[in-house]
């Protein structure tokens, strides 16, 4: 191996892969200076020949078969930017088996196959760079793994999905959900099928990665409690802002509770003075509470060709620098994954304040009934507000903010309340509050 040149193979020339090829070209001099060695794209593998042609790479570097990359002994770093958990898994595991370092932006793959990927990497002494998998170019992975390495992480609060944050920001400005989502699509911030974003899967995968780093145990994405924003109504956003000074965010929350952890993604009200309330449109942010550093916030663009390429290329530079320093024979063991799985506290046991909107008939004794159903389960009301009166005996909204209460208590109380079709005209809206 020539430590003065580091050879890489890029598998996948979608938006991110193209961005990586462009950034490597644009910043050739800076990268060489930082890595101490030049970075050469030896291979780009992509089944779409048009994309290969558009990449500007010479034909002898282009292939339709990723196996050409994995079997080339000259390739030291494989960049997996295929996405998904099918071929991408073969690429990552195949590269590690061949003793190659890996850089990937693939949150779905890493979150799901965390122990498999990192156990293999550890056995082979290979690095896995995955800065771009969470918040793209905002260096939160390195920040947690290295920058805050001396801290016990007490909690994480993240706005980890730009599409949903854009939609919620636009709804706070008066748009309905469908119009806000259509605008996100127009701006290229949402896929045609936006369900992975809207339903919170994307944020849950990212939280699983951040939580796994923080605990040193595997937090599977399927264990993250998850609720999307598809049912959020503009009414509640406006009401909570006006009455209580709250902004709505799709918050990813992780808390270390000793033997167990909280791990959840759901629409959440935060005070307008909260640092995450100021994060608007497609921007992402992560607030880390370290026991030693105190509260640290990272923010920036969490998606897009250039931001994602920034995370990927930075990983390439760091691995290339290590290879250069060690004369090409680097053995790099970034993390020995614990065989343990993090134990997640069921949402029913997690305490929060809640915003509740009841749609009830405007009759005496209705409020007594609501307060009674809540009080029987130790849920006490901090504030109660009835908007207007119905002159026709129809439904009116009654909005309540509770003191901290168990999720299960709220669930049971709402089951009883929503069962009373004589009083209650539609399903009660319940949204957690973090302060």
């Amino acid at each position: 191996m020539n430590a003065q040149r580091v050879k890489i193979g890029i598998v996948g020339l979608g938006v991110v892969g193209m961005g990586v090829a462009r950034a490597l070209r644009r910043n050739r001099a800076v990268i060489r200076a930082r890595a101490g060695a030049g970075v050469d794209v030896r291979w780009a593998a992509e089944v779409d020949r048009k994309r290969l042609a558009a990449s500007g790479l010479p034909p002898e570097c282009c292939t339709g078969d990723y196996r050409a990359v994995l079997s080339d002994p000259e390739v030291q770093i494989v960049v997996e930017v295929v996405g998904g958990t099918g071929v991408a898994r073969e690429v990552v595991l195949g590269a590690l088996r061949a003793g190659k370092h890996v850089v990937t932006a693939n949150k779905a793959l890493l979150a799901k196959h965390w122990p498999e990927v990192f156990t293999l990497a550890h056995e082979r002494g290979c690095a896995v760079g995955f800065e771009a998998s969470v918040m793209a170019g905002v260096p939160v992975i390195r920040g947690l793994q290295e920058g805050l390495a001396g801290n016990a992480v007490q909690s994480l609060f993240g706005i980890l999905n730009g599409t949903t944050n854009f939609v919620l920001t636009r709804m706070a400005r008066g748009l309905e959900f469908d119009a806000a989502l259509a605008e996100a699509r127009e701006k290229g911030l949402a896929e045609a099928d936006a369900s992975l974003d809207i339903d919170g899967h994307d944020a849950a995968q990212k939280l699983a990665i951040l939580g796994s780093i923080s605990t040193g145990k595997w937090l599977p994405p399927s264990d993250v409690a998850r609720e999307g924003i598809g049912h959020v109504e503009r009414y509640d956003i406006a009401e909570a802002r006006e009455q209580f000074g709250y902004a709505l965010r799709l918050l990813a929350v992780f808390k270390d509770r000793g033997d167990r952890v909280e791990a959840r993604v759901h629409p959440t009200f935060v005070p307008l003075s909260h640092p995450l309330a100021a994060v608007e449109n497609e921007f992402n942010a992560l607030l880390v509470n370290g026991d030693t550093a105190g509260p640290i916030t990272f923010s920036g663009r969490g998606a897009g060709e250039r931001p994602a390429a920034s995370g990927v290329v930075s990983d390439i530079v760091n691995i290339a620098r290590s290879l250069h320093q060690s004369g090409g024979r680097m053995t790099y063991v970034p993390m020995r994954p614990s065989a343990e799985r993090a134990l997640v506290i069921p949402l029913d046991e997690v305490q929060s304040k809640f915003y509740l909107r009841f749609s009830v008939v405007d009759r005496p004794r209705v409020l007594a009934f609501l307060a009674g159903a809540l009080g029987e389960r130790d849920v006490s009301i901090a504030t109660c507000h009835q908007r207007g009166r119905s002159e026709t005996g129809g439904a009116v909204p009654v909005v309540v903010v509770t003191h901290a209460a168990r999720g299960g208590a709220i669930r049971e109380a709402l089951a009883e309340i929503d069962g009373r079709a004589d009083f209650v005209k539609r399903k009660t809206v319940a949204i957690r509050i973090e302060e």
Copy 2:
């Protein structure tokens, strides 16, 4: 060397040194898991015997002479938390000469002796960790060096000094400068002699470090243009907020202008909607504009025992992890410092919008004179505002916001204007604006 235990020596048991000893003890298990090896304090060196006794370290680990640390072949990492550029320099250079890795929080030393320290570290294959030197526990050093390694850094905007940010925040709430500084002292946010903070030296040293990383060339702190906040008046803070929607910050600004750079620390107005306007009290923040990642913001507590200890201990963990991975024989070359010095553009050539407050007699033709003196030097006025009228013929404030203008043009115009003792009753206030 036993790669399962990494032995360190702490030189200096002031606030930061004590914090490091405490954090190593508090987070023993987390640190062991992350580093893959235990971290033992083999030595603490401190001339004050009372502090040694208060550290809780066993007597056989305590010494009054730092040379005992440097000469012990078992010590792999020397933690320099003495501060200053005298003994601290001997400790850092001595440790590197002895082939030991170094962790330091010493911004003054690093900024001033950058080429000497990193050339020696490079020659000896030793790591120098200095995360805590800028913004304490907020991982901006690692963020710039590694997290954004694939970016050309276009500009940096930092609130790098907590004392001055606290003072300016309190002044915006109505306190005079002296009262705000007294409050900072009461809260332990300012030293008895606060001049290093107030005059901008502390922020200039930190900017020199960030700029040196960004350019790959040495930016000496003495080349950073510097103006403190000692002469800032509450009147201008209130006036600019009310009339123009600006907040005042002591901003550290770095811009890459190709062959040369801008590097300056001075009171600066930013729009209230700017992310740095939301950074209040003793908090610090850094906005990095990377060509690939876009705008990235880091924020948190930039000083104090625990935040500083977080940065130091994180560096220790990262070096210990590398030592463990390589079986104790790590050769680590973090950065080959360029022999080149960054060329700084003189402030006279740097363009900005300016806020100007003239104190002039309330007479016809005064404004024509002001506008003429500015206009002759190609400075055009964007907004002009006269607060009230003087009925006694005394001085009134006339506040002007200019379009972008060269610093030199403003300096020359104000020299002419302030020379007219018949019109102008006191020195004109001039504050740059960044948007």
